[in-house]
């Protein structure tokens, strides 16, 4: 018997609490697999957000810290400065990272902090009941944009990867999606790359992952994958927005 696919030991055995079809689970698995494949699980410290992934400390099979809402990059900075030879990552939603935690992520990038951020963009605040996020699309209905997001009152979707790519200390910035097997495979490659950048001490790395929230989008899970593909990707194009300087020079 050959095992083509099995549960990674990077995850604990605890079942996820996420809603049916929520792709947070896929992203968890990818990160855990990468940590195992790079053989760094035992020297990794992860930092959880406040958001649906608030219980991530129950799932990642490594030391974990629960941070205050939006402050994971600051917490990770504290850890990394004390333990520069450990692998430190944050896992954050778009409310956590792109709203309340804007200053912390911008400055972790500006400092070239040698941490990796997994940024889950699902265009909504999941945990608190589907309010508008900075990444909510124009026209999208949420509990706080009941008539659809209008730029006039509620502003425009924030493109985090593009914004952070302008920052010198950010060594690697990319956007992926987990809406299809192909994209999942690519997402894993990119997440691995981000951790490799950290291991090579090249600076800050961030992967923005487009993810679904079937519950708050008011769709069934397969519909949500389609919505991601059709509505989100055009606004949030996939790709690498910044690669380490060396690689750029060789390119």
């Amino acid at each position: 018997m050959r095992v083509l696919f099995e549960r990674t030991r990077g995850l604990t055995s605890k079942p996820f609490h996420y809603c049916p079809g929520c792709t947070h689970g896929i992203i968890h698995r990818l990160v855990a697999e990468v940590l195992v494949e790079l053989d760094v699980l035992e020297k990794t410290v992860g930092v959880c957000p406040v958001g649906c992934a608030v219980f991530a400390y129950e799932y990642f099979n490594c030391d974990m810290i629960e941070a205050a809402h939006g402050r994971a990059p600051a917490v990770a900075t504290g850890v990394k400065r004390v333990l520069p030879d450990r692998v430190v990552f944050t896992y954050q939603g778009d409310g956590d990272l792109a709203a309340i935690g804007t200053a912390e992520i911008v400055h972790a990038a500006a400092r070239g902090e040698k941490i990796t951020t997994i940024f889950v963009n699902n265009a909504v605040y999941g945990m608190t009941g589907g309010q508008m996020a900075p990444t909510t699309l124009l026209g999208q209905k949420t509990t706080t944009t009941p008539f659809g997001r209008r730029a006039e009152e509620a502003g425009y979707p924030l493109r985090v990867a593009e914004m952070l790519a302008t920052i010198e200390g950010a060594a690697y910035v990319a956007r992926v999606a987990v809406n299809s097997p192909k994209n999942v495979i690519q997402a894993k490659r990119v997440i691995r790359r981000a951790f490799e950048v950290q291991l090579a001490n090249l600076g800050f790395s961030l992967v923005e992952v487009l993810s679904t929230c079937p519950t708050n989008w008011g769709m069934n899970p397969p519909e949500a994958l389609r919505w991601l593909e059709e509505k989100m990707i055009p606004v949030y194009p996939l790709g690498e927005f910044k690669v380490p300087r060396e690689e750029r020079e060789h390119a």
Binding site: L4, P15, F16, C19, P20, G21, L225
Partner: protein
């Protein structure tokens, strides 16, 4: 293929992405109250692992008899 029935939330993502359309939800409920996914015709599985890649709850283990790969390859 092995499904960890009790973890499955019946989201149907595996069902949707299976290129062979050999996955479906079973009619009975698991203890969480979901209809778990199951395979209808294991012999047609190519081992592409799409289902496992998309399963948000890491429910699926994909196994394969040695030598099976070659046998299936010409099927599709």
């Amino acid at each position: 293929m092995v499904f960890d029935r009790e973890r499955c939330k019946g989201c149907e993502l595996c069902v949707t992405v299976c290129p062979r359309k050999i996955l479906t939800l079973s009619p009975d409920l698991n203890s969480l109250g979901f209809h778990p996914a199951m395979i209808t015709d294991a012999s047609r599985c190519t081992g592409c692992c799409f289902c496992a890649l998309m399963c948000p709850d890491v429910v699926i283990t994909v196994l394969r008899e040695e030598g099976e790969d070659a046998a299936r390859a010409d099927e599709g």
